[in-house]
């Protein structure tokens, strides 16, 4: 085992391969940090270039892109309140308030260091435990998937801000929006009202950047914008002490484990891992009231989880050949074209490549932290660009990114529609994150419900009698009851306070 790892490093430690990893991380960071562009795009564009390379060099480049693309999302999330990818949504919750308070430095410090640690931990887990973890993931059939998506959907109740009803309505709206287009399983169109363009439904990227970024740009036009803030951050190291670091230890570890666990399950993946880790951190914290107002714990939870999801997502890819999302699907395509078929025999037949991939991932992680660490001084400078120049440029990039998803102009229109919807929701004080959660999880829940019923020939009982499914459904029920109880308590406290003050 140890020898194999050393061999893996030996195969990657050539100047050419190192340069590929470095270039990959850099390009990935650029794509990840520009709202509208994603790791998926970076990999899709680079994939054809790798055909001419040696498999290890090609995979090193792609792994660099993957790590960079996932990590870059923290930059716009913290600086501009814009999540470039679903995996950095939760980073905005506390990262941006921290930056607003003048703590952009520490926010970056926490985000970068815990991205690195979460990523590293997940790669170690991937190296040591991939086959048994993959076996565990196989246990998840439609009943289990349905239960876990329902459990994840209950996170909405903790993300609703002031009003639970509004949060739930937002979540349902997200589910409803995801229903536009072909129905799962039988593919007949729903809610398309005869428009052919709607048959494909809405893509996640236009929905996400429309709701978060475009709405923000519309909102910024409410007032005339002045010059940018002159930014003076005193950045020393990561911007926090060793004591602060150890305070986040358990939070970082728990969030990483959540990221790995969710990353392993194909289909749910990084987009939701950061939100679930954030909600867990909030619910477990003694200072849960401070979440959303700029507390480092929130940034740590989100960023540990989304980078840990990378290693998680590679578990089923490498040991079973099963991709969990569009990024890993493209990686699978790349492996296959190099004559490597991921699956039970990959480590046996092509152990050199597999350990090369592991080594490349570790090296990419180190490049990532180095580049972001040196880069954070430059990133904070972005804020000194006047917003009235920065925001229109970001909008153009969002439009280009939306078109790039499927090469369709329709998606640019959808982007605009969701921008206006997002703005309306801001004005009516509806939380936006539940829409995204509903949009991602709704179709998964529906598909697996219907698949499960096909398995059981219309019988609902397996959803309750299959052990894993039952556990998650119970957890879902408990989390809702817990939320209702704490809301009730809060209200009562509030009412009694009120009477006293009267």
């Amino acid at each position: 085992m140890f020898e194999l790892i050393l061999e893996g490093f030996a195969s990657v430690l050539t100047i050419k391969t190192i340069a590929y990893i470095l270039g990959g991380v850099a390009l990935g960071l650029i794509f990840g940090s520009i709202p509208g562009l994603t790791a998926t795009m970076a990999i899709a564009i680079t994939l054809p270039i790798t055909f001419g390379m040696e498999p290890i060099a090609a995979m090193s480049l792609l792994m660099g892109l993957y790590i960079g693309g996932v990590s870059g999302g923290l930059v716009p999330a913290i600086l501009l309140n814009l999540p470039g990818t679903p995996s950095s949504i939760a980073t905005t919750f506390d990262g941006f308030p921290m930056a607003k308070k003048g703590q952009a430095g520490p926010a970056f410090g926490y985000a970068i260091l815990f991205s690195f640690l979460g990523g590293l931990l997940s790669i170690i887990v991937l190296m040591l435990l991939a086959p048994p973890l993959a076996k565990l993931a196989l246990e998840f059939g439609p009943f289990e998937y349905f239960a876990i998506t329902i459990f994840a959907l209950t996170m909405i109740s903790s993300l609703s801000g002031g009003s639970l009803i509004k949060g739930l309505l937002s979540g349902l709206l997200g589910i409803a929006l995801a229903m536009v287009g072909s129905a799962p399983i039988d593919a007949f169109p729903r809610f398309t009202f005869g428009f052919k363009d709607l048959n494909a439904g809405f893509q996640l990227l236009p929905v996400l950047i429309g709701l978060f970024a475009v709405s923000e740009i519309i909102k910024s036009s409410e007032t005339k914008l002045k010059k940018g803030q002159s930014v003076q951050y005193k950045l020393k190291g990561f911007g926090f002490s060793l004591k602060d670091f150890f305070k986040q230890g358990w939070n970082g570890l728990r969030s990483s484990l959540i990221g790995i666990g969710i990353g392993i399950l194909p289909g749910i993946g990084g987009g939701t891992a950061n939100i679930i880790a954030y909600v867990t951190a909030k619910n477990q914290s003694k200072k849960s009231d401070e979440f959303g107002k700029g507390i480092p714990d929130g940034v740590v939870a989100s960023e540990s989880a989304n980078n840990a999801a990378v290693g998680g997502a590679l578990v089923p890819l490498i040991s079973l050949g099963i991709p969990g999302d569009t990024v890993t699907a493209l990686l699978l395509g790349g492996l296959i074209l190099h004559g490597l078929s991921p699956g039970p025999l990959l480590i046996e037949n092509n152990g050199d490549v597999v350990y090369g991939i592991f080594a490349a991932l570790i090296i990419a992680n180190f490049f990532m932290i180095a580049m972001l660490f040196w880069g954070m001084r430059i990133f904070t400078k972005v804020l000194s660009i006047p917003q009235y120049i920065l925001l229109p440029i970001i909008l153009v990039l969002c439009v280009v990114g939306a078109i790039g998803v499927n090469n369709r102009l329709f998606d640019a229109g959808a982007l605009l529609f969701f921008g206006i919807l997002g703005y309306a929701m801001l004005k009516f004080h509806f939380p936006i994150t539940p829409v995204i959660l509903g949009f991602i999880l709704g179709p998964l829940a529906e598909t697996n419900l219907r698949r499960g019923l096909m398995y059981s020939k219309g019988d609902f009982t397996p959803f309750l009698t299959e052990p894993i499914a039952a556990v998650f459904l119970t957890l879902a029920l408990l989390s809702v009851l817990f939320k209702i109880r704490s809301n009730y308590k809060k209200k009562r406290d509030h009412d009694s306070n009120h009477t006293i003050s009267l």
Binding site: F140, G141, G181, A200, L331, L337, P344, M454
Partner: protein, 326 residues
Amino acid sequence: MKNSFKGILFAVTLLVFATVLAGCSDTSSGSKEVEASDYPTKPITVVVPAGAGGDTDANARLLGKYLEEELGQPVVISNVTGAGGTVGANEVLDAEADGHTVLFFHNSLLLNRILGLTEDSYDTFKLAGIAVLDQGNTFMVSGDSKFKDLQDMVEYARANPGEVSIATEVGGFTHLQLLALQKDQNIELNIVDVGGASEKVTALLGGHVDIVPTSLGLVKDYVESGDMRSLGIMASERVDLMPDVPTFAEQGVNSEFEKFFFYGFNPDTPDKIVDAFSKAVEKVVNNEKYVKEAEKFLVTPTYLNPEEANAYMKKAEEKYIELNKE
């Protein structure tokens, strides 16, 4: 006063700008009428209505790599998924008919019209031919399955109607294979939707279903590792790439299917351009290096020219319509 001045300045600059840019366009345009002799003049987008990582994607990318050499322009694979492939098909129909956007797809295109999902089918496109045939359409069981062979499974299914669960993607090519088997042997299976190719593998490995119909090329490693066994392939006779795998016909089941991968253009594309592309495909398919690489997927590179492809697909459609009748 100052404001109105700025407003005018704003309008004037915009106007000047638009004219300047429009002026520039004269030099760069004029290439709109593409001469067939110049074709291709820019990168070619191959629309693949299937996700990355599957067999359609893999074949498209491998062919693309060699087509690039023949055509002298980059060949870009664009995965456009959704609605059983109709979204990708529409994209090619909506694209400019200049030969720079082409569809790469398989049998499912025919099924979409038969099932009433769309009006379009193979005859809506101007075909540039078939490039690859996959004869390894197989039914897989897990390594420790109680079914020794196909006949064993059929007998069990006959004795226990609706007991044997078999995975599919409703409305997909494999769905048709199941219907054919049910009809031919007069048995009833529990048909379960599990999704695309990789989800089928998961379902079988996880023990969620008994049988999974798929392409042998996608699961050959699992056969080698002993996790899966093939019940046979739906080819007319044994295939050289997999001589040990019996056919369905040998085992008394009359069910033959061949997966074909074709290129299709917007119907308004000039014949000369389609011909040029078709010639390039022919050269690639006859390229030994390509054939060697394609063997990894257990597919048979086979070039059928546009007329042959049309006739072939027409025959296939008739057969599918017959099977879909209940």
